[in-house]
């Protein structure tokens, strides 16, 4: 497993510390968020397999079997009355579609070529089990549920995660807890192929009825990219004769005002 959690730690804490205070927003302190995790742990017991509090965000990863209980606990014990979203993540590394395109200073990476490895080299090794680089609050499998709830009275939100089985991604539906989950689960069903037990009618939401495949899975080819290489490479090519600009960075300064740089 790629240790992304530590990186996320740094990422998260930064944003909190730098916030100027004095706004009338009553931002929850770390202890309230920690308390929130404790409540969930007390409610769900061992089903909470991972949690993370950083900045004003909190992640809780639960067992897939406790997915609905987690929502119920959030609704009853934590006043999470607002259903924000529900979706999924596919942690499969697919260099063509993983968003991990690395810029190769020598020029555009030819399609299919080995990318210049900076972060990890498991990009090409798509099928190898158990090597998915998962993110905050950890994860063991390829698919992960991702959902967010919010409390409009306490102004705190929680991001819930659950690992799903790769062969048969299946989890209990939230529709009985949050009616708004209906459409989101339909979307996750067609986009990722997750099955939601107890959903009143899983059917296509966006895609036509006879559509085959699950487009947001990383192994679903994006046809436009098959035909034409990644257009982003063109964008980051160094402009000839513009090396000095590169050294200075791109700090734009206000011409009229103070000239302090970035």
């Amino acid at each position: 497993m790629t240790p992304l959690s530590s990186a996320a730690d740094e990422a998260g804490t930064g944003s909190a510390g730098e916030q100027p205070t004095g706004g009338d927003g009553d931002r929850p302190s770390d202890s309230t968020l920690q308390q929130l995790v404790e409540v969930l742990k007390a409610e769900l017991g061992d089903a909470v397999v991972g949690s993370e509090v950083s900045g004003d965000d909190v992640w809780v990863r639960v067992e897939p079997g406790a997915w609905r209980q987690a929502a119920e606990a959030c609704e009853r014990r934590l006043d999470m009355d607002y259903f924000c979203f529900l979706s999924g993540i596919d942690w499969l590394d697919n260099p063509d579609l993983s968003g991990e395109k690395r810029w190769d200073p020598e020029g555009a990476t030819p399609k299919g070529a080995e990318p210049a490895g900076e972060i990890d080299d498991e990009g090409d090794d798509q099928a190898s089990e158990g090597t998915y680089g998962t993110g905050v609050a950890g994860g063991d499998t390829r698919f992960q549920m991702l959902a967010r709830l919010y409390s409009t009275s306490r102004k705190i939100g929680v991001t819930l995660k659950a690992d799903l089985d790769e062969a048969d991604p299946r989890v209990a539906s939230w529709v009985s807890v949050y009616r708004g989950a209906d459409w989101h689960e339909r979307e996750a069903w067609e986009m990722y192929g997750f099955t939601f037990d107890g959903h009143p009618g899983l059917r296509h939401l966006y895609l036509p009825g006879e559509f085959e495949g699950h487009p947001l899975r990383k192994d679903f080819p994006l046809l436009a990219r098959e035909l034409k290489p990644w257009p982003g490479l063109v964008d980051v090519e160094p402009i000839p004769g513009d090396e000095s600009a590169e050294d200075e960075g791109d700090a734009k300064t206000l011409a009229a005002a103070t000239d302090e740089g970035g």
């Binding site: 924000c84 979203f85 905050v136 994006l222 734009k252 970035g262």
Partner: protein
């Protein structure tokens, strides 16, 4: 239960119809009416299948996806700066406001903070996008109810706001102006004075709408008590923004979240309405437009000087991690859940758009209303199709 084939789906839909019909005393053969995908009231290609008994709706089922563009997938094959070009087109009337939460998420991951002036200007443009978006609603609601004239006033006064956006960004609808670490450019000369003049216009436009439409007896009768959504139901469906504030929930991310943007420096008010009906939604949006204009003027008065762009690497690589950033967009809560693996582009972007959730309440709220009220309710929920289909 999974319904894969068209046939199973239609069987499901008709079984729902049968359920809805059980409770009707005098059963007549109903009629299924397709409102949309091409229909004046859906301003876009939303389709709503309604089962009618006379003019009364037995059940309604929205069908979306006619304009699904797969932005979540497309974001995965683009670099971070390129994503703003895409997300501009989600809520195409609230253009700039779409870019902000994504940029905030990326900045959160990169631990960069834009300079003070950039944050203030972001807020200014954000509120201008709100005015450009909501003012059209204020007029369009009239058209949906049959009053032709207000929408032309809306287009007229919205034009000034768009001109301002164009003067700064070069784009009227798709500014693509927000950058990680700041903004692309500073304001042109004379812009501040012009913007303040335009905000006066916006205020008088709001007065005009209040006079012309909201004060109208017929408008009142068409909207009061129509499409009442209780707060608990609205929240359960994930309704946000003015729609939920019109149901009496005092919740505005601009005030309640500690955002780096500059709302906290202004004196403004979050308006709520207790009724939860179409009229309340119109009323709340009207007040919000006024507040937005007030915010813009206050921000322009106190605009700090300084750089508008923090120092960022020329090639933007975002450290691995996950971040959630959301803002109070014109249509409601818009958020981006960005997963980065350290590359040039995001690994996964979950776009949480407001209209998608706002519209999912339709089957609940349309049951038992009349056909003209369908239009009133759809108009008052105010969705942008791009915000549903993404």
């Amino acid at each position: 239960m999974t319904l894969t084939t068209e046939r199973q789906q239609s069987a499901y839909v008709s079984s729902q119809a049968a359920d809805a019909r059980v409770n009707i005393e005098l059963e007549t053969e109903g009629m299924t009416l397709n409102i949309g995908p091409q229909h004046p009231a859906t301003h876009g290609t939303l389709r709503i299948v309604v089962r009618l008994d006379g003019e009364q709706v037995l059940w309604a089922e929205p069908v979306c996806g006619y304009m699904h563009r797969g932005y979540e997938k497309l974001c995965e094959v683009r670099t971070y700066p390129q994503v703003t070009t895409l997300v501009n087109r989600i809520d195409w009337l609230g253009h700039f406001a779409n870019e902000v939460p994504f940029i905030l998420a990326a900045e959160k991951l990169m631990e960069i903070e834009a300079p003070e002036r950039a944050q203030w200007l972001r807020t200014v443009f954000f509120e201008m996008a709100r005015i450009a978006n909501v003012s059209l609603f204020l007029g369009d609601m009239g058209v949906q109810l049959g009053a032709l004239t207000p929408v032309f006033y809306a287009f007229r006064d919205r034009e000034y706001v768009l001109n301002l956006m164009e003067a700064v960004t070069g784009g009227r609808f798709h500014p693509n102006f927000d950058r990680i670490g700041g903004l692309k450019e500073d304001l042109p000369k004379g812009w501040v004075a012009e913007a303040k003049r335009v905000m006066t216009r916006v205020q008088s436009f709001c007065d005009q709408m209040e006079d012309l439409l909201m004060g109208n007896e017929i408008f009142d009768r068409r909207c009061r008590g129509i499409g009442v959504i209780p707060a608990s139901v609205g929240l359960e469906y994930g309704m946000s923004g003015a729609n939920i504030r019109a149901s009496g929930v005092d919740w505005d991310l601009r005030r309640d979240e500690d955002s780096p943007l500059a709302w906290k420096h202004c004196d403004w008010k979050v308006w709520t309405h207790a009724d939860g009906d179409a009229f309340a939604r119109y009323w709340v949006r009207l007040q919000e437009t006024r507040e937005a204009a007030k915010i813009v003027v206050q921000l322009l008065d106190g605009l700090p000087s300084g750089p508008i762009q923090a120092k960022v690497p020329r090639i933007i690589k975002v450290p691995a991690g996950e971040a959630w950033a959301h803002t109070e967009n014109p249509l409601g809560e818009m958020g981006y859940y960005v997963v980065s693996k350290g590359g040039l582009g995001p690994f996964r972007v979950k776009i949480r758009s407001a209209s998608f959730n706002n519209i999912s309440v339709i089957p609940w709220v349309l049951r038992g209303v009349f056909v003209p009220d369908v239009i009133t309710i759809l108009a008052s929920l105010y969705f942008i199709l791009g915000d549903i289909d993404r």
